[in-house]
Symmetry: C2
Subunit: 312 residues, 2 copies
């Protein structure tokens, strides 16, 4: 049996059992929560971009790549409804990479740093000695805002399933310039009504299955309610793109059905929110394609252990 | 003019000006200090290991490589006299890397995690799609112990310059299995007498110059006092190996001359400490080769922007 990402995370969780008082939230959520000196917590995550896997320099500028490296981590901060505190950046340079090229990468890193008020406080720059892709790693710290952090683990049966923005087609361009949903996440967290949240990085089908597995529930979503992006509509199969393509970096969240209307009323962001389904008792994810057709939804998003996606 | 690492860090510092209340210690030390919610601080650093640059799988096992990735960050925690809190690990896998190989890497990561009580709380595993080296990145959080954190910036003229352990020849084997000097650092920090500290990763000549530049002082070291390792003694030029070779991961520290004797008296670690020189007013680093021969010491340690070292 080949390894997949979710089995790997499950294996790792079995190997690592930190004390819940030191690490209230460990491996398996968008960020870990680290408590120290009995006082406040910080949240901690890391993300790597590898050339040819997450970007291609034929279609992305170095500045965009630097921005994306920060933005994917900022999206993790949003996923927990936390506020960025600081980032450290590690860059592994291919042979022949110049100072001027490195400054272009940093122009994007620093643009994201300024825009989202997340200071870059440290770094490590290394050079490869063999044929190698450009590799950028960003690790980020964040903290709670006014409300508690939101994990993937507390979705309840009958909760509604919602997303921000629109899905699919991100690999056309959005994956290089998306706006992490930090402000939207803080608004969602107000009043402590959201039961579970994560960002959609590997595709709705894959990430909704992850959220449901953490919460020990299932979900039924309605194909006719999925907000399909304009870019996805240029694809041969727009719904497939919206369900599986990934790199949307939108928020996926759940809340009690009685709270959705009041959320919609007070929602004052230009980014839309859309109710796409319901949390169910069953252990799987299903999709309603029409009034009388419901079918299981396989997780066909991106998996690094299976490597089946190309950036464009 | 080609870029070197120190000029690059200087350039970065000029680009990034976080508020000193949020980031009391920024880029340019072994770890950054990040303050949050007006309360306690955490310390934050990142380090990357790239195959063929920092290790070679012809001479290092995957388990050793995993251990080293954690240990270089733990050495940063020691360099500031801080205690590890948590690590996140990002691995970029070459094509064809198997689940079993990844578990070997993690065996070393988890050995270091257990030994130095630093839980791994998150990770990111990505696969390269092109010919690529194995790249491991670890980012780490730490906190102060009983004493304040020690930076590179407060060495005073007439302070004595000291090191732990012995130097040189690390690339023979030690760089894969060194013991980060966490306990030694906490002992050194007791009583707040140490004025500056860092770990020696790029070679004594390079790292002492960095410490002196941060503290705006110079140093005179005595070649006859340098603790040369047994491994360095197998080299053609043992002193050169001890001064420049790097990857020693020993502590380099300074303290007032009147405090050295009492430190030596209370020192109860098996790792020796050795006084190797004195902080001077001049802006450079000099080395005494004999009673009547003093010569400037060039920083000839490792620089990733110049790429002049091979692991063995």
């Amino acid at each position: 049996m080949t390894l997949d990402e979710d089995r790997w995370v499950h294996w790792l969780e079995g190997q690592i059992k930190p004390s819940p008082s030191d690490v209230p939230i460990g491996i398996g959520d968008d960020m870990a929560e680290v408590s120290h000196q009995g006082a406040s917590s910080v949240f901690f995550a890391t993300d790597t971009l590898v050339e040819h896997t997450h970007f291609d320099l034929a279609t992305a500028s170095l500045e965009q790549v630097g921005y994306k490296a920060m933005a994917v981590n900022l999206s993790d901060c949003a996923a927990m409804a936390t506020l960025p505190l600081a980032a450290v950046v590690a860059v592994a340079l291919p042979i022949g990479f110049t100072e001027s090229q490195l400054k272009d990468v940093y122009a994007g890193i620093l643009r994201a740093s300024r825009t989202y008020r997340c200071p870059v406080v440290g770094g490590d720059t290394t050079r490869s000695r063999s044929a190698a892709p450009l590799v950028l790693n960003v690790s980020m710290l964040s903290r709670c805002g006014e409300s508690r952090a939101i994990t993937r683990a507390r979705a309840q049966v009958d909760d509604v399933v919602c997303v921000t923005g629109s899905l699919g087609g991100s690999l056309v361009a959005k994956h290089l310039c998306f706006r992490p949903r930090l402000q939207e996440a803080l608004s969602l967290a107000e009043g402590d009504r959201i039961t579970a949240m994560m960002d959609i990085s590997d595709g709705l089908s894959t990430d909704l299955a992850r959220l449901c597995r953490r919460s020990k529930v299932g979900a039924l979503i309605d194909a006719r309610r999925i907000p399909i992006s304009d870019q996805a509509r240029t694809r041969e199969d727009p719904l497939r793109s919206a369900l599986h393509e990934g790199e949307d970096f939108e928020l996926l969240f759940t809340l009690p059905p009685g709270d959705y209307l009041s959320l919609e009323k007070r929602w004052n962001h230009t980014t839309p929110i859309t109710q796409i389904g319901t949390i169910t008792e069953s252990s799987g994810i299903a999709i309603r394609l029409s009034a009388d057709q419901v079918t299981p939804l396989a997780a066909e998003g991106y998996d690094h252990f299976k490597q089946d996606r190309s950036p464009q």
